[in-house]
Structure formats: C-alpha cells, structure tokens
Amino acid sequence: MTARVDLHILTCAKTNPDWLQQAIASADGQPVNLRIIDNANCPTGVGRTQAYRESSAEFVACLDDDDVLLPDAIESCIAALDANPAAIGDYTDALYIDESGQVLGPDISTNSGPWTVERNLTGAGHTEHIAVMRRSAVLPFLDELESYPSMEQYFLHGMLATVGDWIHVEQPGYCFRLHPDNNHNTIPIEFRHATRQLIRQRLTAAGRVAIPRIDVHVLYCYEPVRWIDDALISLAAEPVNVHFLKGIAGKVGLARANAFRLGTAEYVAFVDADDAVVSGAFNAALDILDSRPEIVATYCDVQLIGEPEGVGYFKAPWNPLAQLFGPSEVHHLHVMRRSAVEPHLAELELWDGYEEYLLMGLICQFGQQYHISHPWYRFRQHNAYPRAGAIGGNPMRKAAGRRILPTLYPLINAGVCQ
C-alpha cells in the first residue's frame, strides 16, 4: 500500500463478473491501492463511506464495477493536484462504451474548459469520471454521505466545491458503460431534486454561488419523468430556489397559490414541468426588474422544443390591450415581484383555469409588464394530456376578463405600453 491513491470498487448482487474483471484490469499499472468492497444489500453511500473512512492514502477515488479506467488517468490527476495544492480534487473526461466494450463516443457531461462551480449544480456526471480527491477534504462530509442510497458522488463532489476548487483534466480517463435499460437513472426524481437543492443551499452558504433571488416553482401532474428532469436540470444552475411540487388535479389555481407562498425571495416565477428555460433567462429578467421599479413582471419569447431555432412564439412589446384579449400574450417565464403577487393568492386559489391570465392582469395594479424580446423559454408542444389553459372554457374566459378589465382598462385608456 504505497501508492498515493486509494481506489475502491463497490460490488453488489447485480455486478457482472466479466465487467468487474475489466474494471480491475484497467486499474493494473495505475498508481493506486485497489480495494474491492462487497456492498450487496447496502446503500451505495454506506459502501463509499466505509471505503473513504478506511483509506489512508493522500488521495481517494472510486471506480464503478462496470466501467473502465484508461491508461495514465490516475497519473494525470495526481500531477494536476500536485501542481495545484489548493485544489480539493480533479476529474478527467470520459468515453461512452456499450455493453460489449465498443466505444460509442465522448461523454460530453464534463464539457471542455476549466471547471466552474456551476458544474456542481447541474449534474452528477459533470465532475465524476474519474475523480481523484484529497482524502483530507472528503473526511468532513462522510457522516452525511453515509445516508445517501444513491447520488452520493454528486452530493460529495458538491460538498467539496463548498470548500475548494476542482480541476478539469482535459483528457479521456474513463470509459462509462451505457446499458439499454439505462439503470443509471432509476433514482426517484424527488430525491434527485432534493440533492440538487441541498448542494445549492450549501454552495450558497459557503459564498460559492450567489444567493438565489427568485423562488421558482415547478408543478408536476401528468408529465413524463424525462420531461420533468429536463425542466429541473435547466433550472439547476440558474440563480433560483426551485420548489418542486405535486400539482392538484383540476385545482391549478390552488396549487399555484400554495407554491407561490413558498420561499422568501424577492421575486417569484414558475416553469411548467414539460418545458425548460435557457441558461441566463432569469438574469435577463433580474436586469430589468432591478433597474426599473415601475416594472412589476417580465415575460419573454418562446422557442418550441424539437423545432429549428427561431420557431416558436415571438411577441410584440407589451401593451395592456393585447394582454387583455390574449390569454397567451403575457405568458411564459413570468418573473414577478413577490410583493405584487402575494395580495392575490387567496383569490388565485379559487380559479381552476385562467389563473395565470388572471394573475398577470391583477398584478398590473402595481406596475407594468415588460416583454423581453428573446426566446428564453423552451416550450414543449404536445397532446400528451389536457393543458390547464383549456379548463373552464368561454364562461371562465369571460369571468377572468371581467375580473382584470378594471385593472387594465385605465392603462389602455392612458396609453401606457412598453
């Protein structure tokens, strides 16, 4: 046990002996002390914690039982850490392989260029393959790590980012095996979301990322998990607190009012669970709202998911007449002042449809809307399930129009517009 890196592999009942042999063989010749730990019937966090606690080398790392290290990966990581004593760990790029070991192409999770702290917000794989960490940096987080049945690496890497910097070693050092049944993504989405939020909270407390200024809620009801995950991932690196909630079927106004009450951030917003946002969307809204107190909310243009760039809904500058007659005009990625929204939440609870149209109208008593002319919002067009906007029909449309007409007509009459 003289090598500088303690490397471990956790095995379980599903471990494929052939792949395990390939993983072990790939560590041969690397400067590691390899340890195979039988972690059957235990959560992954327990096995990892045991491995790290019982390690004694300067650095620690882990290799999945179905993956493969590439030559020189560990040496390169050690060299990078030696050259940067302040860094807490480093990671290489990875290649995808299929079950037969055929290389499918690069794993683009790590992207190119230096590490940034936002990488630890967006995804588990972004600093993971292969990652070499200073043992002294890992130890303070082991008690918490033990409680993670999965996503333990994502959690640990995020925690390390609270106390130091990672280094991206830009060379392939790892082969990640893809499986047809995609058993890497069977973790419940609520758990994934909670882990992301915890990492953001810790990074915020450590001063590594800015304090989120917007409470964004995502209500889900009928959406496929893949779509929901895309929506949440698109929000992960944005300067927002994400409140991920189960919707109330048929009571969208009540669900939204409950969601708006969560958090204490200065601004509130929501994103549909089948849509997504473009990176930078919320900063664009904050730029407007911070500089112009007379603006009560912003919204933007829309790009359709799966369509060529430029295909979507591109709107004119805001005017209250178009808002009054077009329920989808002032729509998509509203970022609103909380102070303007909260007075209307009790009323919002009563609306099972047109609740968004209603709220957008009512908050105009506190200021103007502002249209940001850029497709920051990505909208998924589908017929997979009924949309909330169709609930209520013409009677509710009339009732909502009647409710906001007294607010918008004075603006129309006075010629107020963007």
């Binding site: 303070p140 106390v163 007509y409």
Partner: protein
C-alpha cells in the same frame, strides 16, 4: 351617473353572437335630456362592431355586421357635463362576427353613434351671406381626467349656429370657456409599493454595507407626507430623496434613514403616505413589509497555531546538452500544528515574486484537516515563491475554522518560518520520440531539395553562380513544375472542387452549414496515415495490404 343594467361597477364582458343581438344595456339616472357618446378601441374588430341604439335614458349596445373583438367605451352628457364611463369588453367566438385579432387598426377617436348630428362637429370654415340674427351656444366638457401629473384632459367642443345667410361673409364667433372644477376631498396616493434594500458584503456575510427603503406611488412627493415605523417603535417622518422628478411615472422615493437593527431578526417596516395640499389632508395609504439582516453568529477561531521547518528546499543544477541548467529541486517540508476542536482550513502567507522583481504577500489555501487532526505537513512552498536566487523568505502559516460551510478568521502562527525559494521550472529535454529526425521544411528549401535530387539522379550538375544557362533552365523548370502543381490544387479548390492525390490525400473545398463561408480541408490518404504512423513511406495499396 350611468351604469350597465347587470353590472353595476361600470365594466362588462360579453361574447359576440349574431348580428343585431343586444350585447348590453346602459341606463342613465338623470332626469333631463341626455346625449350618448361612444368610442371603439379595436382589438381585431372594426369600428361598427358594436353600435348604440338610443332610447332616451337607455342605450342598447347592438352587435354590428362582421363584428370583432374590442372595447366599447360609452358615456353620456347632461347639461354639458359628462358622466362616468362604461366599458364593454367584446370577445370573439360567436356567429355573425369577424373576430380577427391583430388584424385591424385602432379607431379610438370619438365618433358619432346616433342620429343626433350635433354630437360631434369638426373644425371648419363656413362661407356665405348672413344677416346678423345669430344665436350661438357652445359647451366644452372635460370627459376624462387622467390621474397623473401634470393634469391632462380630453374635451369635445360642440358648436351650433342657426341663422339666415344673405351675403358671403366670413363668420366669426367668440367663445367663452368656462372651466368648472369640482373640489373633491384629497385622496390617498394609489399604487403604493415598497422595497427594503439591504446590501451585504459578499466576502463578509456579517457586514452590512448599506440599507435603505425604496417606495413608489402615484403622486407628487412634495405634496405628500411620508411616515415610517419600524416594528412597534414610534412613527416618524423621515427625510427622503425623490429619485425621478419630472417624470410622470410613479414617483420613486429613497429613504436612507430606514434602517433595521442588525440582529438577525425579522422586522416589520410600515410606511404611510398621504396627500397634504393646503389645509387638505387625505386618508393614508399604508403598506407593511418584512426584512431581516444576516444572522451574525460568533465565528469560531482556532486557539493556537505554530509552524516548524523540517527541511529546506534546494534547486538542483546539472549539465544538459553542454549547458548548466536547472534540472529539478528538492522540496522543502514544514510541519504545522494547531489547537482547535473542529475541521480547519490551512493557509500560508507567502511572498510571491511579481513584475519588477518585487515581492508581494499572498494568502493561499494549502489544505484542509479534519476535526481529529492537529498536524499537517506542507511541502514545496519554496516553489510558490518563484525566485531563482535561493534566498530565504519569511512565510507565515495559519489555520481557519470550518463552520457551517464557511471559514472563520485565520489564527496565524506566532512567528514566520524561513523557507528558501527554489526555481519552479526545471529544464525538461524534448520528449518528442522523433526529436532526432524531425525537421521543419519550407517550400523554397523543399524545391531546392527536390531539384538537387533530380539533378543527381540524372547526372547533371546543380547550378550555382555562373553555371551554364541550360542547367539553370532545368532547375527553374523543376521549381515551376512544383509551383504549378500547388497552384492547380489551389485553383481547383477555390472553385469548390477537390483534388485527390493518390497515396497522399484529398484537398477539398467545404462550406459551413449556412453556406456563407467556404473553407479548405485536407484528408490524408490511408497510405499517408499508416505510413506516418509506422514511420515509413507507404502507398495506399501497401497500407491496405498490411495486417
């Protein structure tokens, strides 16, 4: 006073149905004669989408042909005084209407709505003969006053003249404008909103850099009074700065004295604004908000820190390629001890060589230790100093507590440790395996080499100064052949084509996806690739035949 029959507060929404349908009914409670007016604000529908059918004190809104969406605003005139306005929002969707949103233009000017041709008169000049039996009356009524400053108004002037024209003569009349302003009670400012701004030092979360209150409302700050109350303390009227004078948007007011205590608690801030004009005082508009300052926790700090030098570093020099070069160094080693019950971050304050051979102190993180560790060995600090003279420098070590994801103040060692600077960049020989054979060849030299090879193969003498003209011509012909070969490749490629040279590769023109930029590419042939890999010259055929 007028109102809708079934919607008393002046607003009504209806869906378009069929031409001639009664969409809404307005009623007037006046006892005298009434004139009805309307204007149309289009959102797709034309100006006759809805028309008024007048019956004394009742006006019915009738759906016109091919009606579309829009707002119909109606009001009445009684004794030259305008009534309140009623607003009807017409939504598309029914039969017999042409609701085409965004397809029409705004027709928001007042227009005639009934058979009384006195309801609107345009400016004009009448010419004709007249005897001076002239009776004239005019009424100017303010029909709308906006709640912004300065006051603006719209008015309709009705001018009626009756007489007998006997001769052509310009007709003139004097009009007396009578301005009737009703003095109502002062109203509290509308749209009051507030925002407490607290700016925290991003590097020291316990330090508040600035805090102030921003409020905005519809009104003139100089005609208003502002009162502030923090929690249950006594209310006071603070000094304020009007941020946007001369602007008709809501007035923004900044109150610097609105500070809340720095105790980590949530505080209620209540602001009241009221109008104070002359001896008139309006009711108050009052709003409350909550804010808090950071929760300052007493930072923990390690009790003690000490550092001991164990080994000094040394720059190692040696002869390489006949030169004395720095070929490496032995790193220094220092032991750091501390007393603290939690995890710590280890720091070093190092003199780092900057431009102009000046040293500047720089704090850097050198590691982390767990709660049960009290010793840390740090290596190679001398390399960070970056000097090459082998001088001993003072380096200070310290530890900071890790607490709640943040770092406390650094406890520095009582005395610095002397550490020798070492040269950080040892000479490393070229690691290229082809270092012995690799060359850089340019076109002119390549032409010379090819020319000399051909001359040798043919038994000719390569020309120099004073050589026969025949030899010079041979040499130039070889050079020209190479030039023309290259030029032909470029000529073909610039025209969008490609040139395939067996055993070498293909030169080709490429376009970007937008078809706006042409570029050149080269794809090496299999023989070229495999030959380069193996270090031999191969044809494509030979390369394919290889195992």
């Amino acid at each position: 006073m007028i109102d809708w029959q079934n919607d008393p507060d002046g607003y009504h929404v209806e869906t378009l149905t069929t031409t001639g349908a009664v969409l809404a009914i307005a009623q007037c409670d006046a006892t005298g004669p009434v004139q009805w007016f309307s204007r149309w604000i289009a959102e797709g529908g034309h100006a006759n989408s809805a028309v008024l059918a007048i019956d004394g004190h009742t006006a019915r809104v009738i759906q016109g042909e091919n009606a579309g969406q829009g707002l119909l605003v109606i009001w009445a005139m009684m004794d030259g005084i305008a009534s309140n306005e009623l607003v009807l929002m017409l939504l598309g969707g029914g039969e017999g209407n042409a609701s085409t949103p965004h397809a029409d233009t705004d027709t928001s000017t007042p227009h005639k709505t009934d058979t009384d041709n006195s309801s609107r008169v345009n400016d004009c000049t009448l010419r004709g003969k007249a005897t001076l039996h002239l009776a004239a009356s005019a009424a100017l009524s303010i029909i709308k006053v906006f709640r912004v400053l300065p006051m603006k108004a719209k008015a309709t002037l009705r001018f009626i003249s009756r007489g007998i024209l006997n001769a052509r003569k310009g007709m003139r009349a004097k009009a007396v404008l009578r301005f009737i302003a009703r003095h109502k009670t002062a109203q509290p400012p509308s749209g009051l909103t507030m925002k407490m701004k607290i700016f925290i030092d991003p590097f020291r979360p316990d330090v508040i850099r600035d805090q102030y209150l921003l409020i905005w409302f519809n009104g003139h700050p100089n005609h208003c009074r502002i009162a502030l109350k923090i929690d249950d303390d006594a209310e006071f009227q603070p000094a304020f700065i009007w941020q946007n004078p001369g602007n008709t948007a809501p007035a923004i007011v900044k109150i610097d004295s609105a500070e809340i205590p720095s105790d980590g608690q949530t505080h209620r801030i209540t602001v009241s604004v009221w109008q104070q004009v002359g001896n008139q005082t309006s009711a108050r508009a009052t709003l409350s908000d909550f804010a808090k300052t950071p929760n300052i926790r007493p930072p923990t700090q390690p009790e003690w820190c000490g550092a001991t030098s164990i080994r000094q570093g040394e720059t190692i020099k040696g002869k390489v390629d006949g030169y004395t070069r720095t070929i490496g160094h032995i790193s220094d080693l220092t032991r750091i001890n501390w007393r603290h019950t939690g995890a710590v971050q280890l720091m070093a304050r190092i003199p780092v060589l900057k431009k102009g051979n000046q040293y500047a102190l720089q704090d850097c993180i050198i590691g982390y230790a767990d709660h049960n560790e009290t010793t840390f060995y740090v290596e190679n600090i001398g390399e960070k100093i970056s000097g090459s003279g082998g001088i001993l420098h003072d380096v200070l070590f310290g530890v900071a507590a890790i607490q709640n994801g943040t770092f406390g103040p650094v406890t520095w060692a009582n005395a610095p440790v002397k550490i020798r600077e070492v040269h950080p960049d040892p000479y490393t020989p070229d690691s290229n395996p082809d270092a012995a054979t690799a060359r850089v060849l340019y076109l002119d030299w390549m032409k010379e080499e090819i020319g000399k090879a051909l001359f040798t193969e043919n038994g000719w003498t390569y020309p120099g100064y004073g050589s026969p003209a025949a030899d010079i011509k041979r040499r130039d012909t070889i050079h020209q052949a190479i030039d023309k070969t290259l030029r032909r490749i470029k000529e073909t490629t610039r025209q969008g084509g490609n040139v395939t040279l067996d055993d070498l590769g293909r030169f080709e023109a490429r376009w970007n996806p937008e078809r706006t930029v042409r570029s050149v590419g080269f794809i090496a042939s299999p023989g070229f690739i495999e030959g380069t890999k193996r270090g031999i010259i191969l044809t494509d055929q030979q390369a394919k035949a290889l195992p």
